[in-house]
Symmetry: C2
Subunit: 494 residues, 2 copies
Amino acid sequence: MRTVKTMGLLGTGVIGGGWAARALHFGIDVIAADVKPEMESWIRGAVANAEPALARLTFAPLPAKGELSFTTDLRVMAERADFIQENIPEQLSLKQKMLAEVSKIAPADVIIASSTSGLTPTDLQRDMLIPERFCVAHPFNPVYLLPLVELVGGAKTTQATIDAAALFFTFIGMHPLHVRREVPGHLTDRLQEALWREILHIVNDGIASTGELDDAIIYGPGLRWAAMGTNMIYHLAGGEAGMRHMLAQFGPCLKWPWTKLEAPELTESLIDRMVEGTSEQAAGRSIRDIERLRDDYLVAIQQVLRQFNIGAGSTLRALEERLYQDADTGESTSSSLTAALPLRLVTTAVRPEWVDYNGHMSDFRYGQLFGQAMDALFRKIGVDADYRASGHMYYNVESRVMHFAEAKVNEPLYVTTQILAADEKKLQVFHSMHRVHDDFQIAIGEQLYLHVDSGAAKASSAKSSVIAKIETLRKAHAVLSLPEQAGRIVGARR
Amino acid sequence: MRTVKTMGLLGTGVIGGGWAARALHFGIDVIAADVKPEMESWIRGAVANAEPALARLTFAPLPAKGELSFTTDLRVMAERADFIQENIPEQLSLKQKMLAEVSKIAPADVIIASSTSGLTPTDLQRDMLIPERFCVAHPFNPVYLLPLVELVGGAKTTQATIDAAALFFTFIGMHPLHVRREVPGHLTDRLQEALWREILHIVNDGIASTGELDDAIIYGPGLRWAAMGTNMIYHLAGGEAGMRHMLAQFGPCLKWPWTKLEAPELTESLIDRMVEGTSEQAAGRSIRDIERLRDDYLVAIQQVLRQFNIGAGSTLRALEERLYQDADTGESTSSSLTAALPLRLVTTAVRPEWVDYNGHMSDFRYGQLFGQAMDALFRKIGVDADYRASGHMYYNVESRVMHFAEAKVNEPLYVTTQILAADEKKLQVFHSMHRVHDDFQIAIGEQLYLHVDSGAAKASSAKSSVIAKIETLRKAHAVLSLPEQAGRIVGARR
């Protein structure tokens, strides 16, 4: 099979546009063919829309982008492309006709693939010249971001075609899943379609709305499905005995009307297949190990969704608002004695996603934790959402971090925070990060903030109520000695 | 309804343990009742296992943890609890008997809820005393991390009971979903069960393995489901015309054998309900706006999974390895002229999840980008995975960041990197961050690294090949003037 420098698209639309964006991004030229000339500007728009997200997918160096060209003549495309992907409407006879036509022009070593959601390759390749080089390559929307592509061969497809297609799709960042048997809907759409038809029944029966049904997924199973499928998840639900226990416990439910889909008979042979399959997936890892991995990604994903204030992330935000409010209310009981100590605003543990290849917390995460301490300090002195909404805020002008010891994964840490200096515009703060178990100081952070009027876009005095709160803290902290690491030049000897 | 200070658990197991962990974490005392005394150590172990992940869920201040107690006498639990949650095996008659028993002891203002996956509340409350205070509250595994809880009332349940239960579950960080009509399996398990039964059919028919079926989800639809359900996703798939176009395009597929589940007739009234429902979900946002949100979280989630090297994250890692290798190979063409310039190792744009409440990139993200530049530099000088595996690496000793201007969301940025000083152990580097559109310098970073022998856990000389590469760069950069911001004390006047 030939090296792919140019991908040909037969048909544009949402899927064709997604293919174009992905291929171009990873340095492949694209020639798109569509009988409607107006689709040229459409596909260029689709590529442009995809680019901002695609550009953030990786920090790794990318080759020069591919070039996009357009033709209304499918023969021009078929002559120039090294790999042809068909994306026309889901009608068998139309696809058969167009694929046959393209196959007569495309050189013999050019793979021709179909994006069909559910038609089978044996049907599609029926009238093609050299049908051996044809396969189904079914992607998912948005094609430029989701890695899955199902590869399905028909009766005449060669293994070499599947292998070469897999290689090409891997090159453009995808995960080819070889579907070993032809079946309408392949694998993914069969699973999606079962869920979808159950949705239609529930809405049709007036039981719930589309929004309620979406919520039923995104706050629960959807979070798990981002990295583990139903089989692995149910393997975990079975406890130490895994899938076998799960089937024993929930097997009877298969007879219950929990969906309009009748289950197959849960025979010993089916049980064995389910148990063997999941045991293979577990690959020697204990239930506990897989649970830990699941918990880690569930937390990290909710943190990401929190940033976008969507789904489970909005639940987390609401919870945090409540916790902060409660903490504020509870503060009335804190004694005056503790006011003289550096504030202790952040206590946490090093998260698995924070460590680098050394197994140590990455440099910039120290800055993140010092930033968390600043956020907590700002809340404490009244620089909150209302304050910012009024057009006033503190900007970070300068930060310095010094590292004295590494922090390992799961290591509990706390940060103390001390006001070094302050006036009506400036706020200089010193943070110190410690291990919880022995109070060892592992890093310090020094930060200088400037109060800004965001409307006027220049430095301004903070509100008097904020200045008063800072002053109370500054005076309390003035009795503390200046930390020895404060006010140093980077790299100077101690 | 009373304030909940103590949650009573009727039955332990995986679900009971999850409830205990969640409630305790958010400051609620828990009393667990199980006839088997050995379940005391079991539930304490389950709570301990849950804690590491739970502790990372939020940075917000938490109340003191609740206390866990255990009894083999359900009456002791029912007398002391302010809210009772039943988690015994999924057998109707057993649940009816135990719920009736508990209802005779628990005070009238104590809500009693069942964790049942699919039994209906009218059946469950049949023999209870004061059945008005009963409802189904169905959680999802792991209960301590997933926010979803389905609330379902039976024929005798009052709205006040549902409201009070919703309040309590919100307090412990959950998202209560009120299921308005009783139906076996409620909502979520009906959707999950349809997918699950289709899996069983596919495995039973010998079409695919459990692992292949899990892959069919996690590399594709599963990523989407983390924050959008099937209805919203299909609304997007319809393009500008949304769900109505999607149903017109894929409606015929409902008659095709894409699952063993027969679809309902796609009547005008069903189409209207689907369109109205998704239009309500869109809440005035354009398809383009929702697409952007979807793309943003799909990228951010893949980045998270990359950290754990799981699912789509492992695909991304493999892609990046290839891209780095290609970039290395391609480097042989770079001219000697460019060697004298500061390196330009990172070009990116400010991601939506990096900005703070000001709409500006958060402080610590500057550190992250400087860290990315260092990673790229390390690769360049041969400090790669093999090198680190040999027990040698550079530790960050000190960092300083200065901010001159803010970076807004999506702003394209680049970082230049210059060697300031180096010897066989030390490496001092200066980074400068710029806006792409006008080359304006928005921040600088200065970093000091020490080479370490991780076996001996002390400073050591880098390998000669690495020292040679650093020296080449250092000499080339020596012709550049020392940046004016290098070597300053935090807060000193310019």
